[in-house]
């Protein structure tokens, strides 16, 4: 069993065979940095719990394609802030499947929307002058038809 410490002091136990889905953790174990526990200063407790939920499910139900698909679909039904936390954690912990899943989810939210709609959803402030924006639209005309 491996012990993981989140940034806010929460402790989690997880089987080594499950934990190595994270390449980061895998390398730490291989480099013998995991004697007592592994500190993860970049991931808070709530997010780490969710990530562990993902990798545990994917370890135990490895061959159940249908089951994993529906699990994944439910897993990403969270608010924006949480989703980004999970993305950052998946990126830091280097868990490819989770990173792909969460990034695809965000991409799906962007897909087929106009630029204005995307700005609205993510609260992105347009800091271009009208001239700059017009020039960019013209540079890549095909993308903006």
């Amino acid at each position: 069993m491996i012990v993981l410490n989140s940034s806010d002091g929460a402790t989690f136990e997880v089987e080594e065979s499950v934990a190595v889905q994270s390449q980061t953790i895998k390398h730490m174990i291989e480099d013998n940095c995991a004697d007592t526990s592994i500190p993860l200063p970049n991931v808070n407790g709530v997010t780490l719990a969710r990530v562990l939920e993902y990798i545990k499910k994917h370890a135990e139900a490895k061959d159940d394609e249908e089951g994993l698909k529906s699990f994944d679909a439910e897993f990403v039904k969270v608010d924006q802030a949480s989703l980004f936390e999970i993305i950052l954690a998946a990126n830091y912990l280097d868990i490819k499947g989770l990173l792909d899943l969460t990034c695809q989810t965000v991409a799906d939210q962007i897909k087929d929307l106009t630029v204005e709609e995307v700005r609205a959803i993510f609260n992105i402030m347009n800091d271009f002058t009208p001239e700059e924006e017009a020039k960019l639209r013209n540079d890549h005309a095909w993308a903006f038809e």
Partner: protein
């Protein structure tokens, strides 16, 4: 106030997100804000499709075509990724072949792993650099593409190779391409064979030879009736093959060897007017090559073949060849054409360890002696499409009478069979004598 959380994600993550979008949308994010202006140049996946904008537009001349060309050129110049994950290109208008070739060559120069090309316009010959791409893992070519492989092929990482309705002159190159693939596992070829009249007499051979191939799916169908002089040969040599799907209406001669690892095969072959008994012999040879299979599915038309012009000769040969040949076969699924001389009994005789049998309709004659599988191994039988015909009843009665270890017989009537007839069928079958005490007959 709601915060802009997304823009605080690191560059690499944002690029990864953008890699899941079609390239036009990725590029469009450049005007979201200054932060996003050049993020798209780091996407690892490029997806170009001219019908995104041209789909509903009537064909004009160069004006519209230029916009797509300019866009792709610009993106390729500005995208600075050295290792492309995926490159998808689909075009439906006539662009100068020079551009198409350059774009593909650029993807290859950027160490692309997945290359997916769909041509829906005039035939374009592909650049040779595809065939020496050291990073390519997945190659799918569809549509009006002509593949002429150079003599030296080196595709050390290629695992999947799919050809979908490409120019059929490309088939000459398949053998050469495969010789340069050290780790190929999946191959899919879909082909419509179109006859262009008597001047197109082709003696085409498709040669598939690979020591690593695990899954092979072939889908060949003719667009129109075949000319008598037309001759086509299929050669397969794949000792590691585990799964074979073969649907074919155009091959006259099969030469298949070495399928020692075969687990599952789905066969649907037929020719409407084959030259004499040669074709039947060829299909028998095909069957021989499948002898190690565990799960075999045979289509209706395949079963019809076995009753070509020289029925008696074939039958004689069939029994001799089939005897004890399918000893690893545990599951057999057949769509048996209703015909008194079905080869189903012969197949059963040679499938000595059969455990599960699924039959869709039935042609039946009682075998000369009870097939061994009925006495020792056959546990499950499913019969689909029942109408109550004599042949069907004879077959079911035979199974029940001799099936010593039968556990369950699932019977499915034809969908539109009326209740009266169903009931009569049920009554008749329920009283058939059963050899196995534990046999359950279930109607669905």
């Amino acid at each position: 106030m709601d915060r802009d959380l997304i823009s605080s994600l690191p560059d690499s993550v944002l690029c990864w997100i953008l890699s899941f979008l079609p390239t036009t949308e990725a590029v469009a994010t450049s005007i979201l804000s200054a932060r996003w202006k050049i993020l798209w140049t780091g996407v690892t996946s490029l997806h170009f499709e001219d019908s995104e904008r041209l789909f509903n537009e009537p064909y004009k001349e160069s004006k519209n075509d230029e916009r797509f060309v300019k866009f792709v050129n610009k993106v390729l110049l500005l995208n600075n990724v050295q290792s492309l994950g995926k490159f998808y290109l689909c075009w439906s208008r006539d662009y100068d072949a020079f551009y198409i070739n350059t774009w593909i060559a650029t993807a290859i120069a950027r160490n692309v792993r997945i290359l997916d090309i769909i041509a829906e316009s005039d035939t374009v010959e592909l650049p040779n650099s595809i065939f020496t791409c050291k990073t390519l893992e997945f190659l799918q070519l569809s549509g009006d593409l002509l593949i002429k492989s150079p003599r030296f092929v080196c595709l050390p990482r290629l695992v999947t190779f799919n050809l979908i309705r490409v120019d059929d002159r490309s088939h000459e190159s398949i053998g050469q391409i495969l010789s340069g693939c050290a780790v190929l596992e999946f191959m899919y070829i879909e082909q419509i064979v179109i006859l262009a009249g008597p001047q197109n007499l082709q003696r085409m051979a498709i040669k598939i030879s690979s020591p690593t191939l695990k899954t092979l799916r072939l889908d060949f169908y003719a667009d129109c009736c075949l000319d008598e002089d037309w001759f086509r040969k299929l050669e397969i040599n794949a000792p590691a093959l585990e799964y074979l799907y073969l649907k074919d209406r155009t091959t006259e001669s099969f030469s298949i060897e070495g399928l020692k690892a075969l687990c599952e095969a789905e066969i649907d072959v037929y020719m409407c007017d084959p030259p004499e008994s040669d074709y039947c012999n060829s299909v028998v040879k095909l069957f021989l090559a499948l002898q190690h299979v565990k799960l075999l599915t045979l289509s209706r038309d395949t079963m019809r073949v076995n009753y070509g012009i020289s029925q008696n000769i074939f039958l004689g040969r069939a029994t001799a060849h089939f005897s004890s040949k399918f000893d690893r076969l545990t599951t057999l699924v057949v769509e048996a054409h209703w015909c008194k001389r079905s080869c189903l009994p012969a197949l059963l005789e040679s499938s000595v360890n059969l455990e599960v049998l699924e039959v869709l309709t039935a042609g039946w004659r009682n075998p000369d002696r009870v097939p061994r599988c009925l006495l020792t191994s056959l546990k499950e039988i499913a019969v689909q499409g029942l109408e109550g015909g004599k042949g069907e009843l004879a077959m079911i009665s035979y199974f029940l009478k001799h099936g010593r270890v039968l556990e369950v017989v699932d019977l499915y009537s034809k969908v539109d069979l009326d209740i009266e007839k169903k009931f009569q069928l049920l009554q008749k079958i329920s009283v058939f004598p059963r050899k196995s005490d534990t046999c359950e007959v279930e109607f669905h």
